[in-house]
C-alpha cells in the first residue's frame, strides 16, 4: 500500500504541475488585456495603466511571470487579484465555504434521495413508479439550471415570498443572534439554489443507480437469497445495493470537482457568493491571479478525488489489490 500511495502521490504532483502550466500558458496566449477594461467607461491615464502593469508584474517576460507564479504557488501564494486588489488565497478562503455548503448539500441530496430513487426504480422496473421517476428526473435533467433558478426565484421568492430570492445570509440579521437562528437563516437561503442544482443534476445519480441495481438484481446470488426466503428489503439493501455502489462511486468522484465550479449560473441567479461566480468573473476580467488560484484548486480537487476513489475501490472490493 505504501508503494501504491507513493506512486500515486508522484503522479498527482505531475498532473498538478502539467495542469497549472497549461492553464498559465493558455490564459496568457488567449487575447485580452486585464487592464484594458479599466479604460472601458472612464478616462484613465496611460501612466496609471503602466503603474498597474508594473504592480501586477504584467510588464515582466512570460517566463519570469511563470517562475513567480510557481514560486508563490508552492508557498500557497497566488498573488493579488487585479479586480479585487486583495490576496487570491484570502478571496478563495472567503468563497470556499459558500461553495462547499451549496455543493455539499447538492451532493448529499443527490447521493441520498437520488440513490434511493434509483433503487426504487430498479425494484419497480417496468411499473408506473419506474416510468414516473424516469420521466421526472429526465425532465429535470433537460431543464437549464439558470432558467429553473429564475422560475423558482420568481415563484417562491417573489410571488409567494416564502423564501429569500437570493443571497446566503440576511444582511438584516443581528450578527449576535443565536447559532440556531443563523443556521436557520443560512438554510432558508440555501433551499432554492440547492433545489435548483439538485433538480438538474439528480437524474445522473438515479440513472447510474438504477442501471447498477438492475445488474446486481439479476446476479445468481440474489436468486439464492430469495430462495433462502430472505425478506425483500434485506435482499435489496443488504445484498444487491452494496454491489451496485461501485459505478455510483465513480460518479461521485467525477462530481467532486464540479462541486466547486459547476454552479456558476445558479450562483449568479441567486447571488450566492461561491467560487464559481468568482472564477467566472475572473475569466471575464482576465484576472490572471484569481484564474490561476481557482484553476489550481480545481486541479487539486480532481487529483484528490481520483486518489480517494481509487483508495475506496481498493478498500471496498477485496478483488482489487493495492497494485
Amino acid at each position: 500500500m505504501g508503494r501504491w500511495l507513493a506512486r500515486r502521490v508522484v503522479q498527482a504532483a505531475l498532473t498538478l504541475a502539467v495542469a497549472a502550466t497549461l492553464a498559465f500558458v493558455l490564459m496568457r496566449v488567449a487575447p485580452g488585456d486585464p487592464l484594458a477594461r479599466l479604460a472601458m467607461d472612464q478616462p484613465i491615464s496611460p501612466q496609471q495603466i503602466a503603474l498597474l502593469r508594473t504592480r501586477y508584474g504584467l510588464d515582466q517576460p512570460l517566463l519570469k511571470q511563470y517562475t513567480a507564479f510557481v514560486g508563490g504557488a508552492l508557498h500557497g501564494d497566488f498573488g493579488v487579484s487585479i479586480a479585487y486588489g486583495r490576496p487570491v488565497t484570502a478571496l478563495i478562503a472567503e468563497r470556499l465555504p459558500a461553495t462547499l455548503i451549496l455543493g455539499g448539500t447538492v451532493l448529499l441530496i443527490n447521493f441520498t434521495l437520488g440513490l434511493w430513487l434509483g433503487v426504487r426504480q430498479a425494484v419497480k422496473r417496468g411499473r408506473a413508479a419506474d416510468h414516473l421517476i424516469g420521466v421526472l428526473s429526465q425532465t429535470g435533467y433537460a431543464v437549464p439550471s439558470f432558467w429553473l433558478g429564475l422560475v423558482l426565484a420568481w415563484l417562491v421568492g417573489i410571488r409567494w415570498q416564502l423564501l429569500p430570492a437570493g443571497g446566503m445570509h440576511s444582511p438584516l440579521m443581528d450578527p449576535t443572534s443565536t447559532l440556531l437562528h443563523q443556521a436557520a437563516d443560512l438554510l432558508e437561503h440555501l433551499i432554492l439554489p440547492a433545489l435548483t442544482l439538485s433538480i438538474v443534476s439528480i437524474a445522473a445519480a438515479i440513472r447510474y443507480q438504477r442501471t447498477a441495481m438492475l445488474d446486481a438484481l439479476s446476479l445468481p446470488f440474489i436468486l439464492t437469497a430469495r430462495a433462502k426466503g430472505l425478506r425483500e428489503r434485506q435482499i435489496v439493501w443488504r445484498h444487491a445495493w452494496r454491489n451496485a455502489l461501485f459505478p455510483v462511486l465513480t460518479l461521485f468522484g467525477l462530481w467532486l470537482p464540479v462541486l466547486v465550479t459547476g454552479s456558476v449560473f445558479v450562483e449568479d441567479v441567486f447571488a450566492w457568493p461561491g467560487l464559481g461566480s468568482l472564477a467566472a468573473g475572473a475569466v471575464a476580467a482576465r484576472d490572471y491571479p484569481v484564474l490561476m488560484g481557482t484553476t489550481t484548486l480545481v486541479a487539486v480537487i480532481v487529483v484528490l478525488a481520483s486518489l480517494l476513489i481509487d483508495g475506496l475501490y481498493a478498500l471496498l472490493d477485496p478483488r482489487i489489490r493495492w497494485a
Binding site: 487575447p31 485580452g32 488585456d33 486585464p34 484594458a36 477594461r37 479599466l38 479604460a39 472601458m40 467607461d41 472612464q42 478616462p43 484613465i44 491615464s45 496611460p46 501612466q47 496609471q48 503603474l51 479586480a83 479585487y84 486588489g85 486583495r86 478571496l91 472567503e94 468563497r95 434511493w116 429564475l150 426565484a153 421568492g157 417573489i158 415570498q161 423564501l163 429569500p164 430570492a165 437570493g166 443571497g167 445570509h169 440576511s170 444582511p171 438584516l172 443581528d174 450578527p175 443572534s177 443556521a183 436557520a184 437563516d185 443560512l186 438554510l187 432558508e188 437561503h189 433551499i191 449568479d268 441567479v269 441567486f270 447571488a271 457568493p273 461566480s277 468568482l278 468573473g281 471575464a284
Partner: protein
C-alpha cells in the same frame, strides 16, 4: 428511505427556514441597497485602477465628506453652486488663492476633530502621481495646499480659471492624518485601516461579510444632523436578474440603476411597494470613428478620415428610434459627448435627425456609389465596408449595433458587427484596431474633462479615435476659462464637434432607480445616488 423520514426532513427544513425568516425580519430604519460590484477599497486616494468603481465610491460617500459638495444644479463653474460640508465657509483672497474654513463641529468617527492638517495630508497624497496618476493629473493646477492654524486651509493655483473650486473639492475627500500620517505612503492599501476605515461622514463602518454585504451604521454624532436611517447595507448581487429578484422579493430596498431591457423597469414599476426615481446619469454612449488606418496607424483611415463620409454615416441612422427602442423615454440622443448630468446638456441644442437622402448625396459626392449594381456602395473597386466592435457584455450596444447594420445595409454600406469579450474589446480599442468602436463613458459632473477623450493632446491615451481639431480644443479651453461666456463657448464647441462628427453620439440615458416607498427621500445625486441618504426620513406606516 421510509416515507416518514422524507416527510420529517421536509417538515424540519420548513420549520427551520421559517425560524430564520422571522429572525431576519423587521427593522424599518435600515436600508438595503443592491450593488453589482463588491466594495473593496472605499478609501479616498486608494480608489485607483480596478478600485475606481461605483461600489467603492458609494460607500466612501457615506464614510467621508468633501470640503463642499456640488449643488443640485451641478453648474460647476466658479465658486457658487456648491454646498458646505467639511468646510463651513470659504473665501477668495485673489484669483489664485482660495481659503476654506473648516466646520469646528466636524469630528472623525473616533472622536478626534477634523483639522486643516487632515486636508493638507490628503491632498499631499492625492497629488502624488506615484499613487494615483489620474487624480494627480486632475489636480495638476493646484500649486500648494497648506494649513493656516487648525481650521483654515489655503489652496493656491497655478493660474486663474473657473474650475478651481471644483478641483479643490470634488476629487478628494480628506483622510484622518492622525491615523495615517505615520504609515509609509505606499502601504495604506495593505494597512489595518482599510479593513475598517474611520471617516467623518454620516455613517461609520459596521462590518463586511466578503462576497455578500457591507454594513454601515449611523453616526449619531454627525455634526450636520443625525441620520434617521440607522443602517445602510450594500448587498452584493452580480447579475441584474438577481438584483431585480432581490428587490421584488422585498429582500432589498433600493437599486440605483435598472438596466434595460425596458421590461425590467416595467416589472419594478408594477410593484406598489417601490417608487421609480429617474435621475440624470453620468453616461454617454457613442460610436467612435477611427481617424487612423487600423492596419497602419501612421496613415489616415482611407474611409473615415473624410468628415463628409462621417457626416453621412451619422445622418444615415435613425438614432432617435434606436434610443427609444432600447430605453423608451429614459434616454435621448445627445449633442456631442455630453451626459445628461452635465449642465452643458441643457444648452438648447438639438441633434441632427436622420436624413438618408442627404447621407446618400454626401457619399456620392465623395465617389461612393453602387457602380457594379451589387447593392453595396463602392469606390475605385473597393466596397464601402466597415466593422464595429462592441463589448459582448452590453445588451444595449448589441441591439443598437444590429440596428445600425440594418440601416446602413439599406443605404448600401456593409457593416460587420463584432461582439468581443470585454478585455479583448478594450485591448483592440486602446490599440486603435477598429473601424468603428461602440463606447460608453462615465463622466465627471464638470465638463472640464472633455478634452481627456476628445482633445488633440490625448491622442494615444483616451482619445482612441485620434480625433484632433484645434478649433474644438481652443473653444473648450476658452469655455473652461471664461465663466461669463461659458454657455456660448460650449454651444459653439458642441456644434463644431457635431459637424466634424468624430463619433456618432448615440445615447445619454436617464438612470432609473427604485426605492422602497417607506423612505421619504431627497433627490438622488447623479454622481453618487445615495450620497444624501443621511437626510432621508421614514414615512409612518409604510413598508416593512
Amino acid at each position: 428511505m421510509p416515507r416518514w423520514t422524507l416527510g420529517a426532513v421536509v417538515l424540519a427544513t420548513g420549520l427551520i427556514a421559517v425560524t430564520g425568516r422571522l429572525a431576519a425580519q423587521g427593522d424599518r430604519a435600515s436600508i438595503v441597497i443592491l450593488t453589482g460590484q463588491e466594495p473593496t477599497l472605499p478609501v479616498p486616494t486608494l480608489m485607483v485602477g480596478p478600485a475606481a468603481n461605483v461600489a467603492n465610491a458609494d460607500v466612501a460617500a457615506q464614510l467621508f465628506l468633501r470640503l463642499a459638495d456640488p449643488g443640485p444644479e451641478l453648474k460647476l463653474i466658479g465658486d457658487d453652486g456648491f454646498v458646505p460640508r467639511l468646510a463651513r465657509s470659504w473665501e477668495r483672497r485673489d484669483s489664485l488663492t482660495l481659503v476654506f474654513h473648516l466646520d469646528p463641529r466636524a469630528r472623525w468617527h473616533d472622536g478626534k476633530p477634523v483639522t486643516a492638517r487632515d486636508v493638507v495630508f490628503t491632498f499631499d497624497r492625492a497629488r502624488d502621481s506615484t499613487i494615483d496618476p489620474t487624480v494627480a493629473e486632475q489636480l495638476r493646477h493646484i500649486r500648494e495646499v497648506r494649513a493656516q492654524g487648525d481650521r483654515d486651509v489655503v489652496f493656491t493655483f497655478d493660474h486663474a480659471y473657473p474650475g478651481q473650486f471644483y478641483d479643490a473639492t470634488f476629487y478628494v475627500q480628506p483622510l484622518p492624518a492622525h491615523l495615517l500620517a505615520d504609515l509609509p505612503r505606499d502601504s495604506l492599501a495593505r494597512s489595518r485601516y482599510v479593513r475598517a476605515p474611520i471617516g467623518d461622514g454620516p455613517y461609520r463602518w459596521g462590518r463586511q461579510v466578503a462576497g455578500q454585504f457591507l454594513e454601515l451604521d449611523a453616526n449619531h454624532d454627525f455634526f450636520l444632523g443625525a441620520p434617521a436611517i440607522h443602517r445602510v447595507i450594500f448587498l452584493l448581487a452580480g447579475s441584474q436578474s438577481a438584483r431585480i429578484n432581490l428587490l421584488l422579493s422585498g429582500d432589498a430596498d433600493a437599486l440605483a440603476n435598472i438596466i434595460p431591457p425596458l421590461s425590467n423597469i416595467q416589472r419594478v414599476g408594477a410593484d406598489h411597494r417601490l417608487q421609480l426615481v429617474p435621475f440624470p446619469s453620468q453616461t454617454v454612449g457613442y460610436v467612435v470613428f477611427n481617424f487612423r488606418d487600423p492596419d497602419d496607424s501612421s496613415r489616415p483611415n482611407p474611409i473615415l478620415s473624410d468628415s463628409v463620409v462621417r457626416q453621412a454615416l451619422v445622418l444615415a441612422l435613425d438614432r432617435k428610434a434606436m434610443v427609444e427602442a432600447a430605453y423608451g423615454s429614459y434616454s435621448k440622443v445627445p449633442v456631442g459627448p455630453v451626459s445628461p448630468m452635465l449642465w452643458i446638456s441643457r444648452l438648447g441644442l438639438s441633434p441632427a435627425n436622420q436624413d438618408t437622402a442627404r447621407a446618400r448625396a454626401l457619399l456620392a459626392s465623395r465617389g461612393w456609389t453602387d457602380h457594379n449594381g451589387d447593392g453595396v456602395l463602392d469606390r475605385g473597386g473597393h466596397p464601402l465596408a466597415l466593422s464595429i466592435n462592441y463589448p459582448s457584455s452590453s445588451s444595449v450596444r448589441r441591439q443598437m449595433a444590429l440596428q445600425m447594420q440594418e440601416q446602413y445595409r439599406r443605404l448600401g454600406i456593409q457593416l460587420e458587427v463584432r461582439a468581443l469579450d470585454p478585455p479583448v474589446w478594450g485591448e483592440l480599442r486602446n490599440r486603435g484596431k477598429f473601424d468603428l468602436d461602440f463606447s460608453s463613458l462615465s463622466q465627471d459632473p464638470s465638463p472640464s474633462g472633455m478634452l481627456q477623450s476628445w482633445g488633440c493632446a490625448s491622442i494615444g491615451a483616451n482619445n482612441v479615435g485620434s480625433y484632433c481639431d484645434p478649433v474644438f480644443d481652443s473653444l473648450v479651453t476658452a469655455a473652461l476659462a471664461d465663466r461669463d461666456h461659458a454657455p456660448d463657448l460650449w454651444r459653439r464647441a458642441l456644434r463644431r464637434v457635431e459637424a466634424d462628427a468624430p463619433a456618432i453620439f448615440m445615447y445619454a440615458p436617464v438612470f432609473v432607480a427604485a426605492v422602497d416607498r417607506r423612505f421619504d427621500r431627497t433627490p438622488l445625486t447623479p454622481y453618487s445616488p445615495w450620497q444624501s441618504i443621511w437626510r432621508w426620513r421614514l414615512r409612518r406606516g409604510a413598508g416593512r
